[in-house]
């Protein structure tokens, strides 16, 4: 195995995704090649350093988003759905109106004009 082929396998080797003959061949090469061992060590150090770069969000992060959503939606985004005249679904309003009109119609049909006498 030459240096180039060895270095091409560094990522797989660190990720543990190399096995069998390829892994043995690489390890044999590393055993005898100080240049590749040094390269691998540098590679490992670089990848390891990347793992320490997590950056937590600032403490003001959540309030800032809440403020942005509140401003953009003019305060109508959260929790207004079930309040009177808030965000009642249109379908519900339509259904209620249809039912009300039906009840009114039925009531009109059944309202017998008992006290009304037809003129002779």
């Amino acid at each position: 195995m030459d240096h180039q082929k060895a270095s091409d396998l560094f990522s797989d080797y660190l990720d543990g995704t190399i096995a069998g003959a390829a892994k043995s061949e690489l390890e044999q090469h590393l055993h005898v090649c100080i240049q590749c061992r040094t390269e691998l060590e540098g590679f490992r150090r670089a990848v390891g350093s990347l793992g320490k770069l997590k950056k937590p969000a600032p403490a003001s992060f959540l309030p800032a988003i809440q403020n942005q959503i509140f401003t953009r939606s003019r305060g109508r985004f959260f929790g207004r759905r079930w309040k009177l005249f808030g965000r009642i679904p249109f379908e519900w309003v339509s259904l209620a109106m249809i039912v009300a009109m039906l009840i009114y119609y039925i009531a009109l049909q059944h309202a017998s004009p008992a006290g009304v006498r037809v003129a002779p």
Binding site: F10, G42, G51, A57, Q68, G79
Partner: protein, 193 residues
């Protein structure tokens, strides 16, 4: 997707403010970290990360649970980053607005006569300086390589998750990631010797 996550998404779709807050608490650090490492500037990163959550909230009804919620969220974050990088490059500000950490790296790299004999590079490279150096190395990568390095080595996602976020095949991810890692190693070697 776990039952708890499914319930949380359900509450989010019902516009439950507490669910939204929980989502930001759960994933805020991950999103901010990804964006910050992609962009390299704190105030820009804050703006973009906030925008990511606003987008999530606006489009959560379209989330069908075919992938993990965090994967979907990070895909949105990655797209926001790409758009911002393109926008910034059009404005010719590319590489000129990194944070103070970069300054630390530049100072280290500069190696003043006073510093040069104080201690070995390993000792001199304190955590903040190393972070700055790494940030410069990441910023020097192509946008796609940068995303892969951040997703895999900073955020420690699996290749499958990275594939779902980027839409790239595993083989492509691995080969590009290797090139990116080698470039970072070269950068680190060059500036710490």
């Amino acid at each position: 997707m776990s039952v708890a996550e499914r319930l949380l998404i359900g509450r989010l779709k019902a516009r439950d403010e507490h669910a939204f807050n929980d989502i930001v608490r759960l994933y805020g650090d991950k999103v901010f970290s990804l964006v910050y490492r992609m962009i390299g500037n704190r105030s820009e990163a804050e703006d973009i990360a906030q925008e990511v959550f606003v987008t999530v909230f606006k489009t959560v009804d379209g989330f069908r649970g075919e992938s993990k919620f965090s994967t979907w969220l990070l895909r949105i974050a990655a797209n926001h980053c790409k758009n911002r990088i393109k926008y910034l490059s059009r404005r010719h500000t590319d590489g000129g607005e990194l944070d103070d950490e970069r300054e630390g790296a530049v100072l280290t790299r500069g190696g003043s006569p006073l510093q040069s004999h104080i201690a070995a590079p390993d000792v001199m490279l304190e955590a903040a300086e190393l972070e700055g150096l790494m940030q410069v190395a990441i910023a020097a990568l192509e946008e796609e390589h940068r995303l892969l390095v951040v997703l895999r080595d900073v955020e420690e996602l699996s290749y499958q998750e990275i594939g779902e976020i980027t839409g790239l095949a595993e083989g492509t991810i691995k080969s590009r990631l290797h090139r990116a890692r080698m470039a970072i190693k070269e950068h680190l070697d060059k500036h710490t010797r």
